[in-house]
Amino acid sequence: MTSQTLPQRLLTGPAAFLSTLAAMAQKEIMIMLRYPVEFVASFGQVFLIVVVLTLAGLMFSPEGVGGGGSTETTGLVVYGFILFMFLSDTLWTIGYNVHRDQKQGTLEVLYLSPASKFANLVSRIVVTLVWTGLMCVMAAFVMSGMLGALPLHNLALGLFVLVMALSGTFGVGFAFAALTLRLKETAQTVANLFQFAFMVVCAPFFPFAALPEFMQWVARAIPLAYGVDAFRSTLMGFPAGFPELAPIEMELAVVTVFGLVMPILGYWLYRREEDVARRKGTLSEY
């Protein structure tokens, strides 16, 4: 057969994953750099959010503006903010990106290639995550500079919680991408709604105690809320009253299961929606 004598290569396994991931990420960066204003603006936006939250943090501190502030509330706001930045990126960027490709008609072309479909999906977030990571380190510096040193306990456990919460959020991101394939433009509206709900119910910027009673029960039904709670409680060294939603062992269990199961479930949902689109012929519709 002719095909065997010609030089087509078909990578499989990790090699296929990594090569696609690298190519997609590189392309993403090139496209980002073609929008210099947006690039700078997104930088500025994060900076402004940092400033606003820092000021909010000052208000929270018991000694008021100009005082040393309580490191506890500082940690609560800073770590909540860091987690929020990572999670909200991961939640929506994948679907947003898939939708963009669907509108351009490039989704079909990507599908036509033998490139790893999983890497294709993951790659849509890699650049943003690295970017957010840098921003967060910077934000942590700025905020601790203005509010005093941050409490930093149990770093390893904190990282574990971050990784698991992120991994689970990837899964939710995949599921949302699946929803995008089905609902197209409408999915973006749904995303806006959920983003707002997430900011309230998962309480990234304030303690859960600030929520009305029934909302706290809603939060207890959302795995991501345990991620937020466990992450900041761990790094703050479990001060009295933290974690708020459940004992830490239970929160860790919830976050771990979420981190392990959700990516598999989300990816399965995405591939299923992709097959529905292949049946209906709507991969390139918008």
């Binding site: 057969m1 002719t2 095909s3 010609l6 030089p7 087509q8 290569r9 078909l10 990578l11 296929a16 090569s19 696609t20 690298a22 190519a23 590189q26 392309k27 090139m30 496209i31 073609r34 929008y35 351009q104 008609g105 490039t106 079909e108 072309v109 990507l110 599908y111 036509l112 290639s113 033998p114 490139a115 097959d275 292949r278 049946r279 209906k280 012929g281 991969l283 390139s284």
Partner: protein
Amino acid sequence: MLGQVTVEALTKTYLTRQRQGLFKSTEKAVPALRGVSLEIRPGELFGLLGPNGAGKTTLIKCLTTLLLPTGGRAWINGHELTQADNAIRATTGCMLMGERGLYWKLTARENLVFFGALYHLDPAARRRRADELIEQLGLGEIADRAVESYSSGQRMKLAFAKALINDAPLLILDEPTNTLDVPSARELRAVVRDLNQQGKTVIYTTHIMAEAETLCDRVAIVDHGEVLALGTVPELKASLRREAVVKVEGVISTKATHAVEQLPGVSNVATTLNGHTTLTVVSQETHAALLPRLIETLTAHQAVIQKIAPEEPTLEDVFIARTGRTLADDTRVK
């Protein structure tokens, strides 16, 4: 041995939603392929010819794994469809949807290098291949400009280059000369012919008669999701040899046309309107039998005959004989 592409009774039915007012909608089945069987041999330049909506793109999308067929089986480059989809993707080069499948913010070179990576070319090979294709298709002058600044013809060329990036043994091209001007279309066909001579199997979709006639080794005439005729162009014409084809130009009423359709032996009458009427009449009888009857019928219906001539069958006549209609005039100019 299996052909390069073997298709067995492939069917595809789309389910679409029919809107009825604000909240009501019903599912409607749109059969786009009704049991297509084909065998494309290695090294062949194979044409799929059919009017708008015939099912050409649907067939190609099924063969390139973009669409899941409803029924039937297919083998591409020795791999079974839906069983070894990634192997099919790796060994096929496709041009679908023309200019839409490109990143418009990137340059031609960046696009080609990127797609090279998706086809697992190593970094040096990607750049080399991109350079080769830019050279081969004369994209040098625009290669380092963003695609969004290209004319649509230039984008089509780039989309064609993209289909060649993995140097696949099988090329699948869906109306690649769409939106190209006459010289560019000719140039592209020459490249396709070259690639075919170098041993590549090509599936070439078109609704332009002349293109199928001059370019393809074998042609399948497709309409309403079915293959109506299949063979080399001479074979297809020979299948009409025993039938007479007469072209009549003049002022001919619909009533006259209907009368012609009723004549014994007449199997097909196609009408083209451009200022006056042109009838193409295909009949099972000989020219000698058909001509006098035709003239008699037309004059009896007050038609004004400006020109009447027996014709050697063209591919278009084959098309008319099989489908009962012509391709629109404007699609024939290129």
